[in-house]
């Protein structure tokens, strides 16, 4: 019985949260990696673009709520996502037209594009804060829990409860669908293949008649979809705050690089690597050992490898180690 309790404990405090957080990071990481693979620069505006998309979704959610539209048990934000995505894609294309296009045509070095993306970051951040303000926004409605800890305890008769929030299930579910569609698109359709070709070798792709403008446009649209959905899922699960989104850029970058930048599947896995290692290393295992070990060997301390304050530092350390030993990422494979 104790082993079961220990497993449920780990599921509740490590596995489910890490899976959710990892999915949210994974979407952002694929966004970074796509931009890097096709447009060839590190996009420092990632976090703020995500917060922009989320902000639009929140505004739509509020509008629908005021109209009295809701999905019942599911959050209203899910209906708002398609509208937000359209808006976000337009915003991305607008930025590209007015900002990034010039440097792409000039064939500026990637560093310059990264600098420009910092300008975009400042502007996007300002726009988000001017429109919705810097404060915490909660826009979740519908049913909060699928299984409550208490109900689980009653059902199974265990000491440990397993609580599963509906947002966690939605996150994992939506991520699976979105990522499968994306990989199908990249690997099976003609456009996806031409994107891969463009990312592999630009000149060769141009020679074989691939239209670079179209590729770039599609990349931005896909990026807009990923940024919006990733941002909304994070906001539903935790809460929406522009500053948190800016900070999330860092683990997202870590995930993208750990997975091998330019490699979407690597980025997808990288998100989980970062999330799991953050939570594994900062969880206090005292209770776990209390269940597993006999009473005489029970630990007195928290058995925590690192305090939770260093949550971010964990992902960054992983990143630094990966950068040093395998700059191409831990998942070898084709780029894009």
């Amino acid at each position: 019985m104790d082993i079961l309790n220990a497993i449920v404990l780990l599921l509740n405090y490590i596995f489910v949260p890490a899976l959710t957080y990892g999915s949210q990071l994974a979407l952002g990481a694929i966004f970074v990696t796509l931009i890097y693979g096709i447009l060839r620069f590190a996009n420092f505006a990632t976090g703020d673009m995500m917060s922009f998309g989320t902000m639009v979704a929140i505004l739509f959610t509020w509008y629908f709520q005021s109209l009295g539209i809701s999905l019942g048990l599911l959050p209203t934000a899910l209906i708002a996502i398609p509208f937000a995505v359209v808006f976000m894609a337009m915003y991305m294309l607008l930025i590209d037209k007015f900002v990034f296009k010039y440097y792409r045509v000039q064939k500026s070095p990637p560093v310059q594009l990264a600098m420009v993306s910092i300008g975009v970051m400042f502007v996007t951040q300002a726009v988000v804060r001017i429109i919705i303000g810097p404060a915490d926004q909660r826009f979740f409605d519908g049913q909060k829990f699928i299984i409550k800890a208490g109900e689980f305890k009653e059902m199974t008769g265990l000491n440990e409860g397993l609580a599963i929030k509906s947002t966690q299930v939605i996150t994992i579910f939506v991520t699976i669908i979105l990522v499968s569609v994306l990989f199908w698109f990249l690997n099976k359709t003609k456009t996806g293949k031409s994107m891969k070709a463009y990312s592999d070798n630009e000149d060769l792709a141009l020679l074989s008649g691939i239209d670079p403008k179209r590729i770039v446009m599609i990349t931005w649209i896909i990026a807009g979809i990923l940024a919006t959905i990733g941002g909304v899922l994070y906001g539903l699960d935790k809460s929406f705050k522009p500053f948190t989104y800016f900070n999330n850029m860092l683990p997202i970058f870590a995930a993208a690089i750990v997975g091998g930048i330019g490699n979407p599947f690597g980025a997808f896995l990288g998100g989980y690597v970062i999330a799991f290692s953050e939570i594994f290393l900062t969880y206090a295992y005292k209770k776990f050992f209390m269940y597993v070990l006999p009473e005489s060997m029970e630990p007195e301390t928290l058995v925590q490898l690192l305090s939770t304050d260093y949550k971010f530092a964990v992902s960054f350390s992983i990143l630094v180690i990966v950068l040093l030993y395998r700059p191409s990422g831990i998942f070898k494979g084709k780029v894009l």
Binding site: Y102, A114, I118, G119, F122, P134, D309, L319, L323, L324
Partner: protein
């Protein structure tokens, strides 16, 4: 003279702007803007050495600034005897363990061939070392943090004058830069940018959470000052006489003796804070001028020529027998050390150390905006960027408020949009910074004062 006309013009405009603030808002505000401009100028000089001279991208400016600030705390705060008594031994033990660990790793690196086994061995040593250090330090840290936690709860510093920390801050930052440089400088430009950004976040995380060393988010307040205190000045005779002499014209207009006395008191209170700020301005100006002379000399020396050669064509410089790796490391350390000085100056001026306030927007990206806008590769440009961008950063709110009122003049004061816009005035500074950066990068990519290399 002629060819420097644009430099002189740009600086005159800047000075006029600050003086205008002094006349229309107050001299206090003008001087605090000026002081922060000087500190920003030191930071931009550091970033400019790395980016402008050598083309190295460093997004970790925040980390070096914070280390400089930490130096100010560790130098100037009086040592806390009791904390040392209860936990000092454990901390010193840990320090010793760290040194042993580093030496062992060095020994392994030197004496064994590169292999998988060696890598795993080093990793194992680091993990084991961290666990041992944690176990050793835990009781000491707990004891230290329990010593009068509301007021101290940390080891304190050396109790020296805070000015020394400017040099020590440079060494701290340089030391970190040495480690970071050794580790990360081989990376491609954009990877280096990300790596340095993340490393600076780790530095901030450590400073925020290692309470025994820095007091963490509890902040250290009331640091010593290199300048006199306002309260002391207000009761000092020579200062009151000075203010009286300075304002004798204004005071003589007031006939009533009591009125004149109260007017004088008011002037003394205002004057004291202006005087203190002037003291800081003097100190900072000295630092800026010394650094400017040194960096200018370096720029036109053979070393500066070599750095530009490395920046413009690494392979060619390497082929000419220049040690690119070593020079990159050197310039990375120098630039970071200058940023460290700025960090210490900043804490000195504020008189408090707040680890929670170190955010990448303010301390990394804003500095980069300054360098790019001012003109990378040109020290005068970088300093001007520091001045102009900081000025705009502070004055953005009044400007935005003015513009909003202008454009919404037809709306009533209670109109929802107008109220909302006025509430979000502070965020217009980000908008202005972003637009400024984008416009400069597009239409004047070399900055306001572009790099100009004269061959003598």
């Amino acid at each position: 003279m002629r060819k420097n006309l644009n430099v002189i013009a740009a600086y005159s405009i800047m000075m006029v702007l600050i003086i205008l603030v002094g006349i229309f808002q107050s001299w206090n505000i003008a001087l605090s803007i000026f002081n922060m401009c000087l500190i920003s100028a030191v930071m931009t000089m550091g970033a400019n050495i790395q980016w402008g001279y050598a083309g190295l991208i460093n997004f970790g400016i925040m980390g070096y600034t914070a280390l400089g600030g930490l130096a100010a705390v560790l130098i100037s705060v009086d040592p806390i005897q009791e904390a040392w008594r209860v936990g000092g031994f454990d901390i010193l033990m840990c320090l010793w363990l760290i040194i042993v660990m580093v030496l062992v790793i060095r020994f392994i690196l030197k004496n064994f061939q590169k292999s998988k086994l060696r890598t795993y061995g080093i990793a194992a040593i680091i993990v084991a070392g961290i666990i041992i250090i944690r176990i050793t330090a835990e009781p000491g840290i707990e004891a230290i943090e329990a010593v009068n936690p509301a007021k101290t709860g940390f080891l304190g510093g050396l109790g020296l004058p805070i000015i020394f920390s400017w040099i020590v801050g440079a060494f701290f930052a340089g030391g970190l830069a040495f480690i970071v440089g050794k580790v990360a400088l081989g990376l491609r430009a954009d990877y280096l940018a990300i790596a340095t950004l993340l490393i600076s976040e780790i530095v901030i995380a450590i400073i925020k959470h290692e309470d025994w060393l820095t007091r963490g988010v509890k902040n250290v307040i009331g640091l010593k000052r290199p300048a006199p205190y306002e309260v002391d000045l207000q009761t000092t005779d020579w200062f009151i006489n000075l203010v009286e002499k300075f304002n004798s014209g204004k005071l003589s207009l007031i006939s009533n003796l009591a009125d004149r006395q109260s007017a004088l008191n008011q002037l003394v209170i205002e004057g004291s804070s202006v005087f203190v700020k002037l003291c800081y301005s003097g100190l900072f100006l000295v630092v800026v001028i010394i650094l400017l002379i040194l960096t200018q000399k370096a720029l036109y020396s053979p070393w500066g020529r070599m750095m530009r050669a490395i920046r413009d064509n690494e392979e060619a410089a390497n082929a000419m027998g220049k040690n690119v790796v070593k020079q990159h490391l050197l310039i990375f350390i120098l630039g970071s050390a200058i940023v460290g000085i700025a960090g210490a100056m900043l804490v000195t001026q504020d008189g408090l150390f707040t680890p929670g306030s170190y955010r990448p927007m303010r301390y990394t990206f804003l500095i980069w905006v300054m360098v790019i806008v001012g003109g990378s590769g040109n020290n005068f440009g970088a300093i001007l960027g520091g001045f102009a961008v900081w000025f705009l950063w502070i004055e953005a709110a009044p400007i935005a408020l003015f513009l909003i009122n202008l454009f919404t003049a037809s709306m009533s004061d209670t109109h929802a949009l107008k109220v909302h816009l006025i509430e979000s005035v502070p965020y217009f500074r980000y908008l202005m910074m972003g637009l400024g950066l984008l416009l400069i990068m597009r239409y004047r990519p070399k900055g306001i004062l572009p790099e100009k290399i004269e061959i003598k």
